[in-house]
């Protein structure tokens, strides 16, 4: 019956079918991990972090959990760096690697993947320009994200990238970095606030209105920072520094007075600069400005773990969960040319990243708090959507097929994200899920389409091509939850599939996928 129908299908579909068989039969050529000689200095830096963590655990009387299963670690990596799950194909390739290099092989492969650049660009864009679509015509968020993605793809050093954001001149169209300025409507106050928070993890803007008696930052600090943006003017050739002063009304005399640019603290000699913004950019990215490297280290750590070393993510003056880690990461980042990939490598090589999320006994809040157990955190809507896109295929939906890449580029207008809800810039704070999210997952269009059993979808292939019901259940679990089923789970679903053929079997596989994508495990990082 199945075979008879096959004949009617197009040649292309048949090819797809053959590919599906190949994957299911484990015969697909493993997409070779990019061979990179293991960098001993990465392990060394991660070791320093481990040492600090170990001391913190000891001081708190905690034991760290043992290392997690390699498939679970792969899932964490994929979700953190590409916003999606590993495909069956990728997991099969992983299984062929020696256990000790599995994680790093995967990491290298992902860091070279366009999905990483696109996904991380979207994440960073939220910090730099927010999620709104901005003033009509002048500011185009999407253009900005493309540009950022290109910079990440070509490994642009982070300090250079930030200097360009802070100093760019020209039209938003051919100089996309100028969107940093236009997104804040060239408003010196908003720009100063954004700059301090996004690049330095400092909430100097709290001093915007007046001095707080106990706060470290005074109103003059904030105003001095804002004055750096006062020269920015719109011209026919775009954003340019054409002079201008930042003026404030004196509270006592009610007269306007000019505030000269001034940085709130010293960070080494900055030299002369023709434009104020150049001066500011040097100060922000100065090697002697301790906040610059720590702010991005904390942001990347938070993206990778779902839980920050310091929270809120843009407030480095809050108490860290574990003291000293950010300093180590920041020193290493500075010492290695502000290379974001290097930073990710070090973080991913820490013991904390590879630690299990559950053990023999219940994990205490304190263990999770101090990263002695991998934190259980809710996935963001685009990670859910990215995962749904991936699970509908057994092969890797990657840069070549453009589906995910396109998805991340149009994220803000995506129907799924619209319905599921987008936490916006608040994305790194933690909440439980909402009822509309559950409704979308149970009844919505995207999940339905992605778990449907048809010729090209994973569900259809699992139903038609897997050698046994046991294999069907196992593959479904690997695809959706990146793990094998427990004995109870396997028994339950094998029973559901027993004796079914053709269409009823397809429906039963759909039902199984429905249960898997609606499970807690699918929506949480762990």
């Amino acid at each position: 019956m199945q075979r008879a129908r096959c004949l009617l299908w197009s040649a292309g579909a048949l090819l797809g079918l053959v590919a599906g068989v190949a994957v299911l039969a484990l015969a697909a050529q493993a997409p070779g991990p990019r061979a990179a000689p293991p960098d001993a200095t990465v392990a060394e830096a991660a070791g320093r972090v481990d040492q600090i963590m170990q001391e913190a655990w000891q001081a708190a009387g905690l034991e760290a959990l043992p290392p997690a299963d390699s498939m679970l670690v792969a899932r964490r990596l994929y979700l953190a760096l590409c916003g999606t799950l590993p495909s069956l194909e990728e997991m099969r390739a992983l299984e062929k690697r020696p256990p000790e290099t599995r994680a790093s092989d995967h990491l290298e492969r992902l860091l070279g993947d366009r999905r990483f650049a696109d996904y991380f660009a979207e994440r960073l864009a939220r910090a730099f320009v927010g999620t709104q679509d901005g003033p009509f015509l002048i500011y185009r968020r999407r253009r900005f994200v493309y540009w950022l993605s290109d910079q990440l793809a070509k490994s642009r050093p982070y300090d250079e990238l930030v200097r360009e954001l802070l100093t760019a001149e020209g039209l938003w169209t051919d100089q996309p970095a100028t969107n940093y300025i236009t997104a804040q409507e060239r408003d010196p106050i908003r720009l100063a606030a954004r700059t301090a928070r996004a690049f330095l993890g400092l909430r100097i803007d709290c001093a915007q209105c007046h001095d707080h008696p106990f706060a470290r930052w005074k109103q003059r600090d904030f105003q001095g920072l804002a004055a750096y943006f006062a020269e920015v003017q719109p011209t026919v050739t775009g954003i340019a520094d054409r002079g201008g002063e930042f003026k404030v009304e004196d509270r006592e005399t009610k007269e306007e007075r000019v505030v000269p640019p001034a940085v709130p603290f010293d960070a080494g000699s900055l030299g002369d600069a023709a434009r104020r913004r150049e001066h500011l950019a040097r100060w922000v990215t100065s090697r002697e400005n301790p906040y610059f490297a720590q702010a991005i280290a904390n942001r990347v750590w938070t993206l990778v773990f779902g839980q920050g070393l310091v929270e809120p993510v843009d407030d480095l003056e809050a108490d860290p969960r574990v003291s000293g880690v950010l300093e180590v990461l920041a020193d290493d980042f500075r010492a290695h040319g502000y290379d974001l990939r290097r930073l990710i490598r070090v973080i991913a090589a820490t013991r904390a990243f590879g630690t299990d999320s559950a053990g023999a006994a219940d994990v205490s809040p304190e263990q999770q708090n101090l990263f002695a157990a991998f934190p259980l955190t809710r996935l963001r809507s685009e990670q859910i959507a990215g995962s749904l896109i991936q699970i509908s295929s057994l092969r890797t939906v990657d840069a070549d097929s453009h589906v995910l890449v396109r998805f991340f580029r149009v994220l803000n207008s995506s129907e799924f994200v619209n319905r599921y809800g987008d936490a916006g810039e608040e994305e790194l704070s933690v909440h439980t899920g909402t009822i509309p999210q559950r409704l979308v997952m149970m009844n919505g269009k995207t999940p339905r389409e992605r778990t449907e059993a048809n010729l090209v979808n994973a569900a259809g292939r699992i139903a038609a091509l897997a050698p046994s019901d046991e294999a069907r259940v196992r593959i479904a679990y690997l695809v959706c939850l990146s793990r094998v089923p427990t004995a109870d789970e396997a028994a339950h679903f094998v029973e559901r599939l027993r004796g079914l053929r053709a269409k009823p079997r397809g429906l039963a596989v759909e039902d199984m996928l429905w249960a898997l994508v609606n499970a807690t495990e699918f929506s949480w990082n762990h």
């Binding site: 809050a318 909440h431 249960a515």
Partner: protein, 446 residues
């Protein structure tokens, strides 16, 4: 509900201060325990279903008057409606263009000619013609007019509707208590109150509700839920108490209950008599207004219905004439219908957009953004109708007489609902913040 004295309420609800304290103590991992409002809202069972037994304790004691309104309807005129073609016509002046004015039931108050049915209801409507804000950008203006606060990078404020849902107890609701019909923006958010107070978004009530209808037959759906239990049991074995803190399965159960709730029938405007439906106008917006009345009867606390299309940079006069054809019957019928169902005194209706439009007519026969001297309308729920507050200049100058700020208007709305605008809340980072910074405008209240 209103007869509960402040002390009754205090006994029912744990003091807010205690919640804050416990959360400051718990910097304990990134589950819900970590965050103030994660905790508040998780305990209050994701907002919609169980009783809302939080929050009011300290506030009610200082509420200035006996509350009348218990629900809020927001008619959202997205894009920024021209005050000159709606609530503040200036016939015979240089800024009027071709727009005429008509008399209303209330002597001395005129409306633009596009609102004849509303003119008949004028005795129930209060106009504020002197709204003054500093936000002339759509997104920022929308945020301001939805929350009462200007955008601030350190905190997301809750929309007025989210405050109503969070602060007004409702034991019966199986469906969300804050609903946005035909939303044209993403500003209807719970903000620091938590995502669970985000508005539930729905479309034209004539269409099936989004994501509420299962694509599978009941028997198959029940089987799927059994399957889900199997997967969840494996999770529970592995993660123990920590897994339960995700509240994932509870949320699934509530979503399932919502799918079968009879309260959803409130969206079925087709069940209304033809006469009633026709009164509201045969438009998605009109049907949304009708659904709003039905939803209030079902216990929903705030419904927003959006009517976008007011951004008339081009052809302002033609554009607003089209828009008022939709707005006029819906707004007027809503007032009449609420009155007929004895809901008018307990329901406050707010009709506004993010700003007004320039008195100056631009070369494209349009009007541009104008946050300095625009209008909004209020009706029902303790509002004294048949009055106008403020006056704009007939020459189109920016400073209106007797200017009103958004936070004053919103403080008034909250007060009319028995919610103390000065109630101190705590954001997720522990920053204290008032529900509204405004002062109650006593003249607006009956």
């Amino acid at each position: 509900m209103e007869s509960l004295s402040a002390s009754d309420k205090t006994q029912q609800r744990p003091p807010f201060a205690r919640v804050i304290q416990s959360c400051q103590a718990a910097r304990s991992g990134s589950l819900i325990t970590r965050r103030t409002f994660g905790r508040v809202t998780s305990l209050s069972s994701l907002a919609w279903l169980a009783a809302q037994h939080f929050g009011l304790a300290d506030a009610v004691a200082t509420a200035p008057r006996r509350p009348r309104a218990r629900a809020l309807i927001v008619l959202w005129l997205g894009g920024g409606p021209s005050q000159l073609e709606t609530f503040d016509p200036k016939p015979g002046t240089a800024i009027a263009g071709p727009t005429r004015a008509i008399p209303t039931r209330v002597p001395g108050i005129e409306l633009a000619a596009g609102l004849p049915q509303l003119a008949e209801q004028m005795e129930h409507v209060a106009l504020v013609r002197s709204m003054l804000t500093k936000e002339g950008d759509h997104e920022r203006g929308t945020y301001l007019m939805r929350t009462g606060y200007r955008p601030n990078p350190t905190v997301v404020h809750p929309a007025l509707g989210a405050i109503c849902a969070a602060e007004l107890p409702e034991d019966r609701a199986e469906i969300p208590r804050y609903i946005s019909i035909l939303p044209s923006d993403k500003a209807s958010r719970g903000g620091y109150l938590g995502e669970e107070f985000d508005a539930f978004r729905s479309g034209d009530p004539r269409d099936p509700l989004p994501d509420l209808v299962s694509s599978t037959a009941d028997a198959r759906r029940l089987k799927r839920l059994e399957d889900l239990d199997v997967v969840e049991r494996a999770m529970a074995r592995r993660y123990g108490a920590r897994g339960q803190k995700t509240l994932h399965r509870e949320t699934v159960d509530r979503a399932v209950r919502m799918m079968s709730s009879e309260q959803l029938d409130a969206f079925r405007v087709q069940d209304e008599p033809a006469r009633v439906r026709e009164g509201y106008g045969d438009t998605p917006f009109g049907r949304g207004c009708l659904a709003a009345r039905r939803l209030i009867e079902a216990g929903v606390r705030c419904i927003e219905i959006s009517l976008p299309g007011w951004d008339t940079h081009l052809n302002n006069f033609k554009g607003t004439a089209e828009q008022t054809k939709t707005l006029d019957p819906a707004f007027a019928a809503l007032i009449q219908d609420l009155r007929a169902h004895d809901l008018f005194d307990s329901t406050l209706v707010l009709c506004t957009g993010e700003f007004g439009r320039t008195p100056r007519i631009n070369p494209a026969d349009g009007r541009d953004h104008w946050p300095t001297g625009f209008s909004l309308a209020l009706a029902g729920g303790g509002i004294r109708g048949g009055q106008v507050i403020g006056e704009t200049s007939p020459e189109g100058k920016p400073q209106p007489k007797d200017p009103c700020t958004v936070d004053d208007v919103y403080a008034t709305i909250l007060a009319s609902m028995g919610i103390d605008p000065a109630k101190m809340m705590s954001t997720p980072i522990g920053r204290p913040i008032k529900l509204s910074e405004g002062k109650v405008i006593e003249r607006l209240l009956a």
